[in-house]
Homo-oligomer: 237 residues x 2
């Protein structure tokens, strides 16, 4: 059964790195073997993969899970094949997807997670769980071979969801961007994840985790709330 | 001689549509024939091309220029071939570039503008003047065949530039995004255009227009100001 945690972000408000996520991480990793393979490819741009691993490792160790970054393995595909759980960190979604394709691990991660290997993603790591990365907030600093991603769930999410825009600024608001996405892709819908929220996918259902409700952006400008704690069928969106 | 106006945005603060841009538009169109071909492809997603043309037309008419949208022409390539000036509006940069490729006008606009046909772009219409669209702020709602764009100038710009981020929000700031862009593309630099500013390219030089200075993001986290009113050689960045 699929076990996927899609977190909006690594931080909520002014909390320390992952401080809000203990329960969310346990929800997915609990009762599973203790070693997590970390994919740092969304980062490692203005800091090293080593630094990224050093930031994430203590979070998982504190909860009783070992963690090692995929960049320490000569063969990234073999590392995914052996992984007991996979964690994909935030950063730039375009860089993440490009490097996942470079490493040849996109199909492999899809297969393994479909077969029940737990997957934990935050921010960019949640974007790539979706059919495509077309609802990322990130700058397209590199060009991946395709926007197609893992497709482990049948709808798009928008991490770091925040409404409105800075006073006097005329860039598009997040709501406007998602309305454009939906207008150009009739029949689809998007789940906006405010910081501190997550979706916990178990098989064909998802449960909303965190302090806040998440937002379901539908065709025609309709926005529903999905209450925290509630569970819905993936196919129902 | 190339005559290009790259505006950050269609609005500055709470001013009405294009209200800040009269001088900037005259600077490029002055002494040229009076008909402007409008490319609305960045919009027309949550509103129609007709509506977009109707919003832009009075701005140009008030200044003494006729304007007609390319969507009224059966053959978009023929329309570009005959254009006396080209205006490319804002909206979604990915949609704009995809539709420009669909219409087969990317190479043609590059050729005509290189040959001296004035080009006016704002927001997404400024992004596509650059070598690629990799410094757009927009959501990748559609996937163009490539990120390569008109390449009429040798560096990237970032329209709607605004520093910082909302309090308590943990998405990347614009500065962080551009620092990542530069880290992954050594040797490049990016010009951030705050709203209300523009670059006026004349041949191989550009002049900063507007009330504010623009920002030159360089390797290693260095950010220089380029003063409004000053002129620099395109190749000097």
């Amino acid at each position: 059964m699929k076990q996927i945690l899609m977190m909006s972000s690594s931080r909520k408000g002014n909390l320390a790195y992952m401080e809000h996520a203990d329960d969310q991480l346990h929800a997915v990793l609990r009762a599973r073997a203790g070693r997590v393979l970390f994919v740092p490819y969304a980062g490692g741009i203005t800091f090293s993969y080593d630094d990224y691993e050093a930031r994430v490792k203590p979070v998982f160790e504190r909860l009783g899970y070992e963690l090692e970054s995929i960049h320490r393995h000569r063969d990234p595909r073999a590392a995914v094949e052996r992984a007991q759980a996979i964690a994909v960190g935030g950063g730039n979604t375009f860089a993440l997807l490009e490097r996942m394709y470079d490493a040849g691990i996109v199909d492999l991660i899809r297969e393994r997670v479909s077969a029940g290997v737990p997957y934990i993603g935050w921010s960019a790591g949640s974007n790539v769980v979706c059919p495509t990365i077309r609802t990322t907030n990130d700058m397209p600093i590199v060009e991946p071979p395709t926007f197609k991603a893992l497709g482990l769930i049948p709808f798009q999410v928008n991490p770091h969801f925040i409404g409105g825009k800075p006073a006097g600024h005329n860039g598009e608001s997040r709501e406007e961007r998602l309305a454009e996405y939906l207008a150009i892709h009739p029949g689809e819908s998007v789940v906006g994840l405010p910081e501190g929220t997550a979706l916990h996918v178990q098989g064909e259902n998802a449960t909303v985790l965190g302090e806040f409700d998440v937002l379901h952006f539908k065709q025609g400008g309709v926005i529903d709330r999905i209450a925290t704690g509630s569970t819905f069928a993936l196919a129902s969106l």
